[in-house]
Symmetry: C2
Subunit: 129 residues, 2 copies
């Protein structure tokens, strides 16, 4: 299977698959005599795994770690668990930060609901920020 067909099956682009190969997410593809990449159909499952990892908020580097462990013949379960734990902690922190920011902005926004440009002193940029 050539790269375009695989890309379409996996719901991505040929460009992205070359990029994944370069990043070590896909093993270097077999080549036809003329130099075209030639993929086994199972490769699509690997790309799906990459997509599931992304959907779980993992970076390509993290997904690559999992794939490397698997490619070594080991079960990556524990590493996956650790990555999920770490990601979860990050997300909690991000949510907390965004919630705090939302509260801050909500308050600023309330103060700015009835702007009174006349009361703005010329030596400040904006009373409401």
């Amino acid at each position: 299977m050539r790269i375009g067909e695989l890309a379409e099956r996996a719901g991505t682009t040929a460009k992205t698959l070359r990029f994944y190969e370069e990043q070590g997410l896909l093993p270097p593809a077999e080549r036809t005599p003329s130099g075209y990449r030639d993929y086994a159909p199972e490769t699509a499952a690997r790309i799906d795994f990459v997509h599931r990892g992304q959907a779980a908020g993992l970076t390509l580097a993290q997904i690559r770690q999992i794939l490397d462990i698997r490619d070594d013949g080991a079960a990556p379960c524990e590493h996956v668990r650790d990555l999920l734990d770490a990601r979860l902690a990050e997300i909690e922190q991000q949510i907390a930060q965004l919630t705090a920011l939302r509260d801050t902005i909500t308050e600023l926004r309330r103060d700015a609901a009835h702007p009174e440009p006349a009361t703005c002193s010329p030596d400040q940029v904006c009373r409401y920020l």
Copy 2:
């Protein structure tokens, strides 16, 4: 006042102030005869405004819009209000996405709590992702 002193007063670096000037957040500074930038003390207030804008989650480009309006002699109240509204909507959406992601990962994590590598089939990368 030279750039290093202003940077220290405003809690930032000389490098950043040159960058702000390049981005149009600060007007081109006066120069001493030898070419050094020479700032009026009020410039610190403008930098503080930039920092408050950043604390409100605005980009430098958005903060620049506000400053441009103010520099034109107008009151930027309405534009500030619109920017805060837009930022608020973005944040709500980000929180919603992160919350959904957290739930997804929490579920994945629960399934992966007691890994059973033996039950992993060799043709998939990881049962838990």
